[in-house]
Amino acid sequence: MKNIRRTSLPGLLVALALAFGPTLLAAQSLEEKVTAHTLKNGMTVLFAERHGAPVFSTLYGFKVGSVDEYPGVTGTAHLFEHMAFKGTPRIGTKDYEKEQVLMDKIAQVGREWSIELAKGDQGDKEKAARLRAELTKLEEEQKALIVKDEIDLIYSNAGGTGLNAGTGTDQTMYMISLPANRFELFCLMESERIRNTVLREFYIERSVIQEERKQTTDAVPTRLLSEMFMGAAFIAHPYNHPVVGWASDINSVTLEEAQAFKQKYYTPNNCVLAIVGDVYPEKAVPLVEKYFGDIPRGDDPPVFRTVEPTQLGERRVRFEFDAEPQLMMGYHKPTFPSKDDATASVLGYILTTGRTSRIYKDLIQDKQLAVSVSTGSSPGARFPNLFTFNAVPRNPHTLEEVEKAILEHVEKVKTEPVSERELQKVKNNLDASYIRSMSSNFGIAMQLIRYQLLFGDWRLFKTYRELVGSVTADDVMAFAKTYLTPENRTVAYLVKKAKAS
């Protein structure tokens, strides 16, 4: 559906990463366009000038995602992202003081209600219903004091497009594009939001997210499969839970928990802002300083501890669902800046990207065992991740047949070097994708933010390109031998429910 916004985008950046890899020429032209600026509170601001049309796109991200959650509060990064559209003490209200009184009550009643809900069958049903009714009454009262969705309203009036946000495993990002004469409006609005989001209508939004989970996961075979797969592939590392969160946690997470999450991670020193389009840094930087510069610096985010233990043997998951069968399979591997990460991209491309890829030609075109097979680097990039396959068999061929056929290609890579032409084709395509991604303001903003946010320096995109460029046939073979082993593998099957509707 075209209008839906505020969504969970697991692996969005990762997917793009596979498409990146600049030629030296394009890399230089991007570097020439970029001005980097660090505010004294630690916020990084990257400008790229592009004066074609009088518009600009902005994208800013916090280095926080579902990987920073723990059991009980899964989905909080994404939930908070929704709440960031509910306004501030100045935006979205007719009388903030009166609202605060009500919101204290809402927080209290909501917490008590959530406790009953979390007890499940042991909960006091009557008490829960009473608290729900009380909450509804308070929400109705607050509604009279609210200027409904005023962030949307203001940006709509200003001609803004693409107001949206996305949460992934690794990061949360916010975006808006505006006509060039609205730069100050952007600074005011977004500095307000970062400084002080008011979590109004929290328990209504929690209900929206319950529906989001049903719509985008529970009713979507591929997403459900991915959830089952990740849950098995990671036993300790929080890459094992979905970005949208488990239903139980979404159903009972409290306003206070969302607020606490925000305090910990939504600091300027944990934020990167990219501005691309018809902007002149000499005029824009002072405005950015004025609006964003005095947001107080926060503590560094907590140190991340959990390391996924080495996998000791193959893991297999099989579940029934009311849908045609498909499979997901993956192997643990290092992440950027390890060269193995670049090698994985190259191998994935050789195996499954395009009509000339090995698996397309063999499994899809010739043997027609499958209608699609794709590879990826999932679910995030901040921590060691997985080299994955997704495959959709063609009836009457089975998951077992498809798995076996994919594994034959995996084994072949271990014994026969890939050809120079294949390597060159991948590099040509990664270069071209990179250039194509530069044809929109938003595309450039994505490029700039990725490496700065996740790895601390936007220029590392060149490092990635160099790594990809240096991948040899020997590297590919070594990668396959080291990582694509049975004991490092997880396989998940979605099979059609015997008694389906």
């Binding site: 559906m1 209008n3 394009a26 592009r50 074609g52 009088p54 518009v55 559209f85 007719k94 009388d95 003081e97 969705d149 949307d152 309203l153 203001i154 709509s156 009036n157 200003a158 001609g159 107001l163 594009s177 006509p179 060039a180 004469n181 100050e184 409006l185 005011l188 609005m189 307000e192 209504i204 209900s207 929206v208 529906e211 719509q215 009713a219 979507v220 075979p221 004025k290 510069g293 005095d294 009311d322 849908a323 045609e324 395009g354 009509r355 000339t356 030609k361 075109q365 209608v371 959709v392 084709k425 395509n429 270069d431 071209a432 994708s433 250039i435 194509r436 044809s439 929109s440 509707s501």
Partner: protein, 483 residues
């Protein structure tokens, strides 16, 4: 903007409290005042016609070393025989994958992919589109392959089988997604299962399509006089002319004669169609026939749609069903236009336990638009949003080109874009009320819902006359006997 005195006072009081900081930044956006004027010159593609009749739109874009090509041939699934539904799409797919008399499909794949170039063909309802892209240095090579494919496709049997098998598997799987199921059932009932607008490809129609059908369909549609071709990118007009004249040399004009599909008639009669599926939400599509494209009320409808269900979170559907009540993650709708008639429709995946309540809210929103004038603020926001975001249509040159091509093909006036903003500005609250009365009728809307009625707040019978659709039987009947 609607600020109250209290708010301003509060803002000032707050500012005074922390005077030591440079707090001027913390204001309400309405305090910023009017923005500086935006100067903007609309980029326009150059149009010219080649000797063999190909109409060309060209726009230069030297920012990146890239070229984009977009070709529209009039003719698509609306013009395929009903018993061969799916022919347009299969023709497009195999045109690309099957290669030409001179170059095999696999060879073309190799040649294009090695230089990171693409050519893709799609069969739409009205147009067959063939797109291409490459690095600037490969423009000549790209067009050589592009022209060979559209002029001399080989349509080999193996690639037809591959395309058909892929489509058949897609048809097996389209029932897996409940929202897709509700859409399929809705389209079919809205337009009629035998209408060119409502029928869809099925296993039985795909199986009856042979190579000769593809070749005949191609012959009927792929003619130079029936092609509008756009080129955008880092190539000069002279280079474009030279290359196009060369690659399309000898392509003979042929008369393209496409019979007009029978006009649509309204079939919607308020029936509720219910298909059981074990899924957590209620998947809804509702509506009846909407508007004809490029009609007299197009600007009124654009503003109406923005207020009703197309304008994101400021639209009434989103505001009332999602933001106020948490009944859905997303809902959109509007009076869409089409070649004959688009749909007036609303689509959403809703909380099952409040589905009937939600349906009531949707109907109330429609009735209110037909009864009361919208507020000043609503119409202002809708018009501001459309007018002020207009400039985004011109961010990318290849976008500009495809937009102008579509407008020309669909018979819009040459000054459509130049007068667009003024036309939106002219829309009044009364216009919106009139359009809502003319184009919406809650009593006539068919309601298609896929889900589990046992989870709903009230029986569907409380909504209207219910006709059940046995999904399992339908799927089995369409698939036919399985191996």
């Amino acid at each position: 903007m609607k600020r109250t005195t209290t708010q301003v006072t509060a803002a000032i009081a707050f500012a005074l409290l922390i005077l030591a900081l440079p707090v001027l930044a913390q204001r309400h956006p309405s305090e910023l005042g009017a923005p500086p004027p935006l100067s903007f010159k609309m980029p326009k593609p150059v149009m010219f016609t080649l000797a063999n009749g190909i109409r060309v739109a060209y726009i230069q874009d030297a920012e990146l070393p890239l070229v984009w090509v977009l070709g529209y041939f009039r003719g698509g699934s609306l013009f395929e025989p009903g018993d061969k539904a799916g022919l347009a799409q299969l023709t497009a797919t195999v045109l690309r994958t099957g290669g030409t008399k001179a170059r095999g499909g696999d060879q073309i794949n190799e040649e294009l992919e090695f230089i990171a170039a693409t050519v893709e063909a799609m069969g739409g309802s009205e147009y067959m589109t063939v797109t291409g892209s490459s690095l600037k240095k490969d423009f000549g090579k790209l067009m050589e392959i592009y022209a060979d494919l559209v002029m001399n496709p080989a349509f080999p049997q193996d690639k037809l089988d591959l395309a058909r098998n892929q489509s058949l598997e897609g048809m097996r799987r389209m029932w897996d997604r409940p929202n897709q199921v509700s859409n399929i059932l809705f389209q079919e009932r809205l337009y009629g299962p035998d209408s060119p607008y409502g029928r869809r490809a099925k296993p039985v129609t795909l199986k009856g399509i042979g190579r000769e059908d593809l070749a005949a369909f191609h012959k009927k549609i792929f003619s130079p006089s029936n092609l509008m071709l756009g080129v955008a990118g880092d190539v000069s007009a002279d280079e474009v002319k030279t290359v196009l004249n060369q690659v399309f040399k000898g392509w003979a004009k042929a008369k393209v004669d496409l019979p007009e599909p029978a006009p649509l008639t309204e079939r919607a009669d308020g029936t509720v169609y219910y298909a059981y599926k074990d899924t957590p939400q209620a998947n809804l599509y509702l509506g009846h026939l909407g508007a004809r494209r490029n009609g007299p009320d197009q600007y009124k409808l654009e503003v109406l749609n923005n207020i009703f269900g197309g304008g994101g979170f400021t639209a009434r559907l989103m505001k009332q069903l999602r933001s106020d009540r948490g009944l859905t993650y997303g809902i959109y709708g509007g009076v869409m236009d089409g070649r004959d008639r688009g749909p007036f429709m609303v689509a959403s995946q809703l909380k099952a336990a409040q589905f009937v309540e939600a349906l009531g809210l949707i109907k109330d929103i429609v009735r209110d638009l037909q009864t009361n004038l919208v507020s000043d603020e609503e119409i202002e926001t809708a018009k501001n949003s459309i007018i002020n975001s207009f400039v985004f249509n011109f961010e990318q040159k290849n976008q500009v080109m495809s937009q102008v091509m579509t407008l020309k093909l669909q018979g819009y006036a040459d000054n459509y874009l130049d007068t667009y903003i003024d036309n939106i500005r002219k829309v009044t609250k009364q216009d919106i009320l009139d359009a809502a009365k003319k184009y919406m009728d809650p009593a006539k809307m068919i309601i298609v819902v896929v889900g589990d009625e046992k989870k709903f707040d009230k029986p569907l019978a409380s909504v209207g006359t219910v006709k059940a659709i046995d999904l399992k039987a339908l799927i089995e009947a369409e698939r036919g006997p399985q191996k």
